[in-house]
Amino acid sequence: MTFEDFLDPLISALLLAGIYAAMSVGMTIIYGVMKIVNLAHASFMMLGAYFAYELFERFHIDPILGAIAALPVFFLFGMAVHRLLVRWLPKSDQPTLASLLLMFGLSLVLQNVAYLVWKNEDRSITTSYTLSSYHLGPFGISKVRVIVFVAAVVSIVVLQIALRRSWFGRGMRSLIQNPYASQIVGVDDRKTSMFTFGLGTAFAGFAGALLALLFSFSPDFGRPFLLRSFVIIVLGGLESFSGVAIGALILALVESYSIFIPGLEASYQPAISYGLLVVVLLILPKGIAGLLERKWRSG
């Protein structure tokens, strides 16, 4: 094995980690504020992919612009979902069975609607730059992967800054830290929840549109990515932003380097991330962030 063979997966892992983080961020903030494990996240991503697809096919709008356009559209969609369905759920500081099943029911509905509209066939978006690549010494780096990576990272950084600076962001973070105390000091729980759900959905749509640039998709598109999002947010400790970034990187690295495991055929590869999910849940229930926290406290 040459040095290039070893470095190549590293580059692709780094590029993959960006989009992995973007798709998990929405799930993390919804979980953090509302303690809802959003099983409909996959369907939101799937709809985001079709959103970019339709804009591209009908109006020849670049999918990156399509992804950006998805942000406000899915924000409103998410707020509507919250208003119609989510807010009727009983409040809890732990994820409930009812919330799990409600979001699951919603995902069935959305998936079926997508089947009706787009039929059960694989689609993909092919832009002028899909097949071109940059050359860096011995490495060929796909241009579209770089673009997606940059878009994902920029979006996360912007979100992070926005949440740090704005009143809403502070309210949201205080709800994550302590829902009771933050309500006492005047954070509007219901409004913040609705905004958060909108924001989480917006990021799901955005990530879905970006993923559509990299992979072909069908109405059943989201589930593998939903499971990856689980792995990532569990690795990241469920509620932390930097945790998501680390989790995304770890998962991308594991997936990219699993080609080196001897005797493992490529068709078994998806089983790795699912297996990793269980392992992580077991040994790191609070994720990497929890582990570091413990280290810092004891050290």
Partner: protein, 327 residues
């Protein structure tokens, strides 16, 4: 009200009357298609009852029952193909499912609530990927089951019916036993249950094993009838995520945590599924989704809860004590 001998009220007798009616039904010269629908409904209902043992009584929501269903189907299929007795194959199928239940349960029951649920998604998907690639399962192209016997629909019907009766009996026994009380305690508060001398981890493992055995047999019975099984992720694949969803949907529709709710849910689901898939193949996911949302938001106790409320309207006020006991 005295509580001496068990009252022989309508509630006690009704299931036996129903069972008797279903036993003599094939003799009445009914159409084979109805028998087929009933057979499939029975198979689904067995899995519904099994899921409810874990998800309803014990409060551990699992998305992973397709694993037991699929393993049961494949175990039976392979044994029948090897010339084994089908009934022996059913027992072997439940055995394999029980082993799998420990494999799944030993790690995942260390987790609580939604973390357990998420972990079961991971385990199911991993096993589906593996089973879809193994040579012994026929890979993604599936497995044909060849039995060197005459195909008799009535035999299949009775096998499913007897197993269903067995499943109901297990459910009743669990609900009434000390073990069942322990499970309910775990559902309400795991820590409190542990303080009171219940070992939650072990109790969950055992009920999971019982449920897996029933689900495995259901998969085996279905495989023998269907003659062909495939492990794909699409609809109809025995390991499909969809299968796990159907198994979870039935008790939720019927009313989780009760003995008869899952039976009701299974019967409704089985018949509706057979009719829906034929008539509206394009929108059955949509209907299930809407149904699930409506049940969660409006009537979390499912059809059983709805019926209880409807009948409660016509009942004397003293009937209240009975409806309260059911909660």
């Amino acid at each position: 009200m005295k509580t001496g001998l068990p009252r022989l009220g309508a509630k006690t007798i009704l299931p036996f009357v129903l069972l008797l009616a279903l036993l003599v039904l094939p003799a009445s010269g009914i159409k084979p298609n109805i028998i087929r629908i009933l057979f499939i409904t029975f198979v689904w209902t067995i899995t519904s009852i099994a899921w409810n043992l874990v998800g309803g009584f014990t409060g551990q929501v699992s998305f992973g029952f397709a694993v037991f269903y699929g393993l049961g189907a494949y175990t039976a299929g392979l044994l029948i193909n090897a010339g084994g007795n089908p009934y022996f194959a059913f027992i072997a199928a439940s055995g394999v499912a029980v082993l799998a239940s420990f494999l799944v349960g030993l790690p995942t029951f260390r987790l609580r609530g939604p973390y357990f649920a998420i972990a079961t998604i991971g385990v199911t998907e991993a096993i589906r990927v593996i089973m879809g690639n193994l040579k012994i399962t026929g890979g993604a192209s599936g497995l044909s089951i060849i039995e060197h016997r005459q195909f008799r629909q009535v035999e299949h019907y009775y096998t499913a019916l007897v197993t269903l009766a067995l499943a109901v009996a297990v459910s009743v026994l669990v609900a009434k036993s000390r073990f069942g009380l322990a499970l309910r305690a775990i559902k309400q508060d795991e820590d409190a249950a542990a303080d009171l001398g219940v070992n939650p981890y072990q109790a969950k493992l055992w009920i999971h094993a019982i449920a897996a055995a029933l689900t495995g047999v259901a998969g085996a019975i279905h495989a023998r009838y269907a003659v062909f099984i495939d492990p794909s992720g699409g609809a109809g694949g025995v390991f499909a995520f969809q299968t796990g969803i159907s198994i979870l949907l039935m008790p939720v529709i019927g009313g989780i945590g009760t003995v008869w709710g899952p039976v009701l849910g299974g019967l409704v689901f089985g018949i509706v599924e057979e009719e829906l898939v034929v008539n509206f193949p394009n929108i059955h996911l949509l209907l299930y989704g809407v149904l699930l949302i409506l049940i969660i938001l409006l009537e979390p106790e499912g059809l059983a809860g709805l019926l209880r409320k409807l009948f409660g309207l016509f009942r004397r006020p003293s009937g209240d004590s009975e409806s309260q006991r059911a909660y």
